[in-house]
């Protein structure tokens, strides 16, 4: 059966499609245009604040810009070859990878464990969350000074107290083997409370009827977690996995505040390595090159996350 369109042509179109194309599609396109216009100010702001400096940084990575002069010379890949030939770069990269492994395991496990326990504390969980969040909301400088001068200090604080009791307590930041873990411990202490709150919110979204059904079926605690809670919070876990991976390659503040990358580069990370080039040696081009490398490591998990999310949507 054919129908005649307004243009006098006949086509084999279902009636609904013709109605949609004639009456609804133009309005939908108009609505989309309105949405684009509404989003435009925020998008323009984001682009100008983020995209423009990002492009300039990417360009600077291929120049010998000193961060001060009005001009710079193009030097191609010289910054990158110089960085790759520097042992300190590989030390910093290895430290960032160690940092990532630490954060993907310890605070994730503590945060998830604490969230599971708080599930069973409907009345007191709010108070616990407040306490756990305190290190997260304090400024990094506050946390760092507490640990530097009170916990790790050999004069006062825990290390000093143990020494006064006759225990030869080592100073964790002074040892090349333990310094990175000592710094990471401070950042993990600051971060795990945030993970607890996020995981608890996600766990509470688990459909109650699934949980009840599992109880009726006689599921043990581990089975309940594995077959009911875990599938429910999987998207949150995925997101946190990706965010932690990205943040691990951007970590800076606690390293800078606690050790400055020392002793002897044992806590050097890519961000402190870049900072030294930018603000101490007037080699902004090299700093930009390190920044590009850091961005690459951040981009990979972001691409993975997008792929996984699309795959889940299609499923």
């Amino acid at each position: 059966m054919s129908i005649t369109t307004e243009l006098g042509r006949t086509g084999h179109q279902p009636p609904i499609a013709a109605l949609y194309n004639r009456h609804i599609a133009p309005r939908a396109r108009g609505a989309r245009l309105k949405y684009y216009i509404l989003v435009a100010p925020a998008l323009l702001l984001s682009l100008s604040v983020v995209l423009v400096p990002a492009v300039l940084t990417a360009v600077a990575a291929f120049t010998d810009w000193n961060g001060v002069a009005a001009s710079a010379s193009w030097i191609g890949l010289d910054n990158f070859s110089s960085i790759f030939a520097d042992g300190v770069f590989w030390t910093a990269l290895a430290n960032n990878i160690r940092w990532m492994v630490l954060f993907l395991t310890i605070p994730m496990a503590i945060g998830l464990g604490a969230a599971m326990l708080l599930l069973r504390r409907p009345r007191s969980r709010t108070g616990y969350q407040l306490i756990f969040l305190i290190p997260y909301v304090l400024a990094a400088i506050t946390n760092a000074l507490v640990w530097l001068n009170i916990m790790y200090s050999p004069i006062a604080g825990l290390v000093g107290f143990l020494r006064k009791q006759g225990i030869n307590a080592p100073a964790p930041l002074a040892n090349l083997q333990t310094a990175l873990y000592a710094v990471a411990a401070v950042d993990m202490w600051h971060f795990w409370g945030f993970l607890t709150v996020v995981y608890l919110a996600s766990l509470r979204q688990t459909p109650v009827d699934h949980i009840e059904a599992a109880h009726i079926e006689g599921a043990s605690g581990m089975q309940l977690f594995r077959y009911v809670y875990f599938p429910s919070i999987r998207p949150t876990l995925q997101l946190m996995f990706v965010m932690i991976t990205i943040f691990s390659f951007l970590s800076y503040d606690y390293v800078k505040l606690l050790t400055g990358g020392g002793p002897a580069h044992s806590t050097e990370v890519l961000s402190t390595y870049a900072y030294t080039f930018a603000f101490s040696t007037f080699q902004f081009g090299k700093a930009a090159a390190v920044g590009l490398i850091m961005s690459l490591f951040g981009l990979l998990p972001a691409i993975l996350y997008t792929w996984l999310s699309r795959r889940d949507l299609q499923a």
């Binding site: 000193n66 009005a70 020392g262």
Partner: protein
Amino acid sequence: MLDHGRRFLTPLLLVLGLLTIAPAAVTAAPTAASRQPLSMWFWGAPPDHQMTMKRVLVDGFNASQDTYALQVEFRNSVDSDIQVALAANQGPDIVYGSGPAFVAPYAASSKLVSMDAYSQKYGWKDRILDPIYQSGTVGGKLYALPNSLNTLGIFYNKAVLRKYGSDVPKTIEDLEATMDKVKADGLYPSVTGNKGWRPVNENYASIFLTHMAGPQTVYGALTGKVPWTSPEIQAAVEKSADWYQKGYLGGSDYVNLNFADSMQLLADGKSPFFIGPTLAFQFATDFFNKDKGNVDDLGYTSFPTIGTGLASPLYTLGTTASLSINANSSNQDGAAQVIDYMMSQMFLENMTATWPGYWGVPLKSIDIDPSKYEGLSREYVIAISDMIKGVNGGNFGYFTATFFPPATQQEFINIDTVWEGTSSASDFLTRVDQTFKVELEKNMVPPIPAPKL
């Protein structure tokens, strides 16, 4: 109709309100607007030091003339703030920087004004110590004047030395013997550390370069005539590592102590010595003072020369900071006037009275009677006077933070790789040599004053 009216009522009221406030805001502008503003950014000094600066510099300068109103901002991140501001052609009128190596790239990029004309007007060349004046030049033109001399020496606790029957050390052997004695008794051989500020390492690189490698060798290296891998320099780096590994630098707590902690331990009798820069006098005031009744327990002496063949005493020539004029300042004459105000004996005396350690103005001659000062200020004035005599006589070495180009300076901050055994002195200096050669080719080495040869 009513809705239509209401829609315009709120904006109308807002506009009327703004129109009412605006004239009041304009007329509320302070009378200081009649003076031209001058700005300076300084590092984040402690509150009592900020008060001293406000009283002596800001209020003192403003009271001395009618044209300008000086304001000082205290910023913890002043170095990076300055870099970003100057790159954007903004920033304060008076540029506070870390020293000659910091100044050179800005001068080369026309971010700073040549001060030759002001030097002639105010007579700075005749007033300032020659090596210091020269260090502030780039391509023969003056771009910076350091605010204060800074050298390296030994702070000692007289009570602890008396307890162990030791004299003030005059030789390296005396110094090491006393440190061994107290170490055996559980004290720190000396207290110091780089907690929170890794560049503290530069003090201990510089002190051995001066007192062991010697001024002539380091001068040769800084002018490209002698390689950094020379045996004298390597021996100096190895000696610093030997000291670190023996615990002569803060025991095993070097990374857990800063200068304030160290001064506290020195005052508490936990060590006889703090080996470090004269700017540490500013930290000492909190722990050695009249209230604690120990102000006379602190002494200062120069670090001994190591080995034979070098002059004695020697002084590591350093400065705490540099003062320049922003090329984009609209009050360059005023900025120069402030700098001139700070390059005077009067300024040295007034600042040092309550803030010893940071204001040893690098004058060719000072006529100060130490007996006019009390406590630590007196010790500091004596230290600076002795240093000026030594520098005038050409007996000086080079502080890495003052005279080394930026990347080479950074390499010397990494001297802890040798101390911790992750790099040999030879490999470390090979890296230094390679880095220095690149900077020498790019003309990034500041003018190096020649010592007595």
